[in-house]
């Protein structure tokens, strides 16, 4: 318990730092608001003269858009880009010299980032919901909420593990930002963070199911919209758990190899 307290304090300090850096925070939330509003108008325009699109009713697609925005704040909001910088600039030394697990430390930092974004996102979504009088497709049973929250939590872990590994590339190269941006874009696109993946051709959907990305946004939102049947839900959770186990082992291996290779340059 005492050991965990330090990570709780890290979480609190990053909250404080976020509040101290008001301008960055406001600009970031403005960006998120622009993305959500644009997607809302795009899908509203597409559904103006029809009741459904690719199997989605208007309330379902708008629920997807709002849900997508919420999940971006929980799953994709991250400060793992700082990992490679900390390695390359030698700032990692400060953590390696102290009795902290860097993996847990960075997770606490990520949680702080996610929670601030999540709260802001809820406020923004509620605002748009009230302003545009949006009709949403709310789940009919409480079990759906439980499964949705579970799927989002697992998605959050999956994406954190992926990002942690990408950050660890900094141990071998000082040029990890290029691959990271490319990967982030591909991940968001194939996760369903711009549109539902089942509007894509079937053969692409079949290929994507073997990658981690569809389980980050599309799968949890499919649960929320009650479009996934029991078979798909079981398959989705199994895939998430297998990915988490696999990625955890890989992240550990990358960290052990990388930290042994660490040159502590500039420190």
């Amino acid at each position: 318990m005492k050991t965990l307290r330090k990570y709780g304090f890290v979480f609190s300090l990053y909250w404080q730092e976020g509040l101290a850096q008001r301008a960055s925070f406001v600009m970031e939330r403005f960006r998120a608001l622009v993305v959500m509003t644009s997607l809302y108008y795009l899908w509203s325009a597409l559904l103006r003269n029809q009741t459904s699109f690719a199997g989605y009713s208007r309330p379902q697609i708008l629920t997807y858009v709002f849900g997508m925005s919420l999940l971006r704040s929980i799953v994709f909001a991250s400060r793992t880009d700082e990992i490679a910088m900390e390695i390359n600039q030698g700032r990692l030394s400060g953590y390696l010299l102290k009795p902290v697990y860097y993996f847990v430390y960075t997770f606490s930092r990520d949680l702080a980032e996610k929670s601030t974004n999540f709260i802001s996102s809820i406020i923004e979504i509620s605002g748009l919901y009230l302003i545009f009088h949006v009709v949403l497709a709310w789940p009919r049973s409480w079990q759906t909420w439980v499964l949705f929250i579970l799927a989002v939590t697992l998605a959050m872990f999956m994406n954190y593990l992926l990002n942690f590994m990408v950050g660890c590339w900094g141990f071998w190269t000082s040029e990890s930002s290029g691959p990271r941006f490319l990967l982030a874009l591909i991940m968001e696109f194939t996760a369903g963070a711009f549109f539902p993946l089942d509007i894509l051709p079937l053969h692409i959907q079949h290929i994507l199911q073997w990658f981690p990305s569809p389980y980050l946004v599309f799968f949890p939102l499919n649960i929320l919209l009650e479009k996934a049947d029991m078979h798909q839900i079981i398959n989705g959770f199994t895939a998430q758990i297998i990915w988490i186990i696999g990625l955890s082992l890989m992240a550990r291996l990358v960290w052990v190899r990388g930290s042994a290779n660490y040159g502590a340059e500039g420190a």
Partner: protein, 267 residues
Amino acid sequence: MVINPVIVASDLVKTYRVPQKKPGLAGAFNNFFSREYRNVEAVKNVSFTIQEGELVGFLGPNGAGKTTTLKMLSGLLHPTSGDVHVLGFIPWRREAAYQKKFTMVMGQRTQLWWDLPAWDSFLLNKEIFEIPNSEFDKTIKELADLLEIQDLLDTPVKKLSLGQRMKAELACSLLHHPKVLLLDEPTIGLDVIMQQKVRQFILDYNQRYKATILLTSHNMEDVSELCTRLILINHGRIVSDESFESFQARYGKTPLTEAMRAAFQQK
């Protein structure tokens, strides 16, 4: 009286693989397609033993291997070969029990949170090192008095002067009462008065807690006022290891800087 060796380094070697690039645009293109590396032996068979309570100057010109050796003693770097034991621990294993007994202060690096008051960084270290409340309160009072920083603790670190920041940095590094201090250029960039205060503090800490201190510095006043023993290193090799008195006796009334230069040239 039993004298315990606190730091034992035996035949330490550290080799870096350094990328090479020819100058100019042609060199950059060439480097883009084929990277060349060169092995640089930064530390060559370095051996020394330091006893409890000693205050040792580890001196040499830039690039001599001082900081690399300190990084191996701290556990930041794995030696390419050779052994090192500090307080009976193998540093690069990075065991929490070891990390709670030593500290490393790098003059040009800060562990303090830039946007937050130093007090928050102190509280974080309190949690990280699991310092009980009563001990923390006592230590903070003691350190704040010694370093005269009581009035600075509530000011954001970015608003502090370099000297004030260095004093806060020292206090933050010593909250857990380390038995071994590795100080890399602790007075770099400070004005004369501040240098004097920091030196006095290091001496007080050494005497009060019988702490073992290894410091690197290019400031000869640090050396003459603090060190009882000098280890000189050049081109990765130890060129001299003797008491400050015997070093001085060897060079008579020659100023310390000149004596150092002569010592390096002789070898």
